[in-house]
């Protein structure tokens, strides 16, 4: 029963994510694209919930929907001038890009279809937050620390580049 419900939910989310992702690319107004991106992020968060990764879902909502998207829209509003309706146009390579994307998509789907699903369905941790915490401070402490430095570098870089703009004015 639960599995049927899950399946239905999955397909709804699937359509939501894919359709909104396509909208991001195809729409001509970049603000609309950004809003559909938010929708796509929400859909992904839903899929996390279906996979019983509630913590990840929460993070996805907080970081991507809450922070990244808002930042993105701010960025668009601060930099865009002129006609906002024609702000996300295709360039001359749309046909070639379409072909390449389609080919890549078909190849991945084919490979997926021909691959036997052999992933061991082991027991999932009930307490994902605890497991994550233990992984971060246990076997994954090196990447965890590297990620901290990486974020620091990102912040420093943002400040440097922003300061540059200020001085140029």
């Amino acid at each position: 029963m639960g599995s049927t419900l899950t399946l239905v939910a999955f397909w709804i989310l699937f359509v939501l994510v894919v359709a909104s992702a396509l909208a991001v690319v195809l729409l001509r107004n970049i603000v609309h694209s950004a809003l559909y991106l938010v929708l796509s992020f929400v859909g992904v968060a839903g899929i996390y919930i279906l996979l019983e990764a509630e913590f990840l879902a929460a993070v996805q909502i907080l970081v991507y929907v809450g922070a990244v998207s808002v930042l993105l829209i701010f960025g668009v509003m601060l930099t865009r001038r002129g006609n906002i309706r024609q702000s996300n146009l295709f360039n001359a390579f749309s046909l070639a890009a379409g072909v390449v994307s389609l080919a890549l998509c078909v190849l991945i789907i084919l490979a997926l279809a021909r691959t036997p699903a052999s992933l061991p369905l082991g027991s999932w941790p009930v307490d994902t937050v605890g497991a994550l915490a233990e992984a971060f401070l246990g076997p994954f402490v090196v990447p965890f620390e590297v990620a901290a430095i990486l974020l620091l570098v990102g912040i420093v870089g943002a400040i440097l580049i922003a300061r540059e703009v200020k001085e140029d004015k």
Binding site: F93, A96, A103, L104, L107
Partner: protein
């Protein structure tokens, strides 16, 4: 001391850049650096020889140490392994001492001889580079390293022959030496690479151990013959001898050091180093012996008629080198190396003496000299001593060593070569004393007056003259534990003194001197009349058997003709192809550049397209295509 043998070539090797880059402007300092470096090497070489002889280092138990220079590990074994190593045995120890001694004396002498020359510092730089290369050659423990230094001494020789490059003859002579030696070196290189292919090593000792298990004696003979091409070129043996007389265009100290005492002896040294190779193939040994013997006779006959003092000495050098090579061929490495040692001393003496004369007169034709004995007492005395040694008058150095070669030929059953050697001994004493009676004792023909050279030139002459008297005794047959018990192949064999050989060669030498005195000293027999009577022979000899002319003809007609043909072919066929290739390459470069338009979407598109292509390529067989 032996542990530090690698320092011996290093001192002069360091002196070269120091002179070239730092002290070039300061002439005195340049000379001091050069002389100081070679003096240090000389002292070290003395120590090495002493330790070699006292600490039980023998030909069978040498000291060898090496760094791996280039190593390429293959799947199982080494694909390629080249060492940079040092091999010290009595052979190399003796050779080190000879080279450093002569180089030291020549450099001191050059201070006087090259005084006032604009290229004074450069000259000392080149001499240092040469000494370093020559010492490296002597110490090398493998063919590859030896070849490296072999080429380097060739380069130095080229630079020094052409030292007076503004003189067209000098430029031409240096080019000739370079080309002739390239031909020979190519053979040498082919030969030792052949050996490498057979035995997978360049190392002398490993080769010696592997030789008895050679897969194919015929191939080995080919390799040995090719290697022998090296000595034929470097030691100026027939038919590649033509460069040596012309090399006399270089400054006289260079002729003494490079073209008499050391570099030209490198060929003989190579034969000694690789003696086991030649000894194991009788046919090649025989070839070596006859090439040497023939050159000895051939060069001695040419020397009879030459007029240029340095050229007479050059032909004499060729002839003596022929002796040494003949000794190697008849199976006596000891005799060959012994003669190399003594010859280095007295031939350096003769060349430096000739240099002293040229320095005083600025004249090289002996028939424009005369009566020099009155003006240049030290030069004359030492020169005569050197000539006596060369002629083989006992008890001077040349007597003992030449005698040993003749004895080796005689007792090893090469009677023909023994007789030939004795004839050469007669010719040698004749042409040397022709030179002496004409230049030093005859009447003043052109009214040229000499003057004695400065101390820094005469002192080396005196030292060399002293050694000429003494040096022979290290190998004289009655001396126990002498030269033959250090440097030998197989086991030390001590030839019993053969009084028949000794007396014959001495008599023959005295006869030569007497005849020279009759013709040129007392002039009871007219030289002109003789030349008239044997006119055709005289002309042939004077023109050096027309070998140069023959080569020139060959070169002009055949080589240039071929070259013309090839040139045409090159210009019209190969150039066409290469121009085409070059243009295509350049054109495609310009075309391909347009891919890089600077447009970001294009870059991204290419990136993904490449990914798609690669996935298609690799994954299609795995996925099994679109079914």
């Amino acid at each position: 001391m032996i542990r530090y043998a690698w320092l011996v070539p290093l001192f002069p090797a360091l002196a070269f850049p120091v002179i070239a880059f730092i002290t070039r402007r300061l002439r005195t300092l340049s000379a001091l650096v050069g002389i100081g470096a070679i003096a240090a090497s000389f002292v070290l070489s003395l120590g090495i020889l002493w330790e070699t002889l006292t600490s039980g280092v023998t030909m069978e138990k040498p000291v060898e140490y090496a760094l791996s220079w280039l190593a390429l590990p293959g799947a199982k074994d080494w694909v390629l392994k080249i060492e940079a190593g040092v091999l010290v045995d009595p052979l190399s120890a003796v050779m080190l001492l000879v080279v450093t001694l002569v180089a030291l004396l020549v450099e001191i002498y050059s201070v006087g001889y090259m005084h006032g020359d604009p290229g004074f510092s450069v000259f000392f730089g080149y001499l240092s580079l040469f000494s370093a290369s020559m010492l490296g050659l002597v110490l090398a423990n493998n063919f590859f390293m030896m070849f490296f230094f072999w080429e380097l001494v060739g380069l130095c020789s080229y630079l020094l022959i052409g030292f007076y490059f503004h003189k067209p003859e000098a430029a031409r002579a240096s080019l000739k030496a370079f080309v002739v030696n390239r031909v020979a070196d190519f053979g040498f290189m082919l030969g030792f690479f052949y050996l490498f292919l057979m035995f997978k090593t360049f190392n002398f000792r490993e080769l010696a151990e592997a030789l008895p298990h050679a897969p194919h004696m015929g191939l080995l003979a080919v390799a040995a013959t090719l290697i022998f091409a090296g000595p034929i070129g470097k030691s100026a043996q027939f038919p590649l001898h033509v460069w040596l007389p012309d090399a006399m265009e270089g400054p006289t100290p260079v002729s003494a050091l490079i073209h008499a005492a050391t570099m030209v002896a490198a060929g003989v040294y190579l034969l000694a180093r690789a003696f086991v190779l030649f000894a194991s193939i009788p046919e090649v040994s025989l070839l070596v012996a006859y090439v040497g013997g023939f050159t000895a006779l051939f060069a001695a006959t040419i020397a009879l008629t030459q007029r240029d003092i340095k050229r007479i000495l050059a032909y004499s050098t060729m002839s003596q080198l022929g002796y040494m090579i003949m000794a190697m061929g008849v199976g006596s490495m000891t005799a060959g190396m012994f003669h190399l040692t003594t010859h280095a001393i007295f031939k350096a003496l003769l060349f430096l003496g000739a240099g002293s004369v040229i320095h005083a007169l600025h004249e090289q034709d002996i028939f424009r000299m005369g009566g020099l004995a009155k003006d240049m007492k030290v030069t004359t005395a030492t020169f005569v001593l050197g000539a006596l040694a060369l002629a083989g008058i006992p008890p001077l150095a040349g007597f003992w060593s030449k005698d040993e070669i003749l004895l080796a030929a005689y007792s090893n059953g090469y009677t023909g070569l023994y007789i030939l050697g004795t004839v050469v001994a007669f010719l040698t004493s004749f042409y040397m004393f022709r030179l002496i009676f004409v230049a030093f004792f005859g009447r003043r023909r052109a009214g040229l007056h000499g003057h004695e050279s400065p101390k820094c030139m005469t002192v080396p002459l005196i030292i060399l003259a002293t050694l000429t008297v003494v040096a022979g005794f290290i190998g004289a047959p009655f001396v126990p534990h002498g030269f033959s018990s250090w440097v030998y192949f197989g086991e030390p064999h001590h030839l019993e003194p053969n009084y028949f050989v000794m007396v014959t060669s001495t008599l023959v030498a005295i006869l030569g001197i007497y005849l020279a005195w009759l013709i040129y000293g007392k002039e009871v027999i007219s030289a002109e009349a003789l030349a008239q009577r044997w006119r055709s022979i005289h002309t042939v000899l004077y023109n050096k058997y027309y070998i140069d002319e023959a080569y020139l003809w060959f070169f002009r007609r055949v080589v240039l003709g071929l070259a013309e043909a090839f040139h045409w072919h090159d210009r019209h066929v190969v150039d066409g192809i290469f121009d085409g290739v070059g243009d295509t390459v350049r054109w495609s470069g310009y075309r391909l550049r347009y891919l890089h338009s600077g447009s970001l979407p294009v870059y991204a598109l290419v990136f993904f397209a490449a990914v798609v292509v690669f996935v298609l390529w690799v994954a299609t067989p795995v996925i099994g295509g679109i079914r």
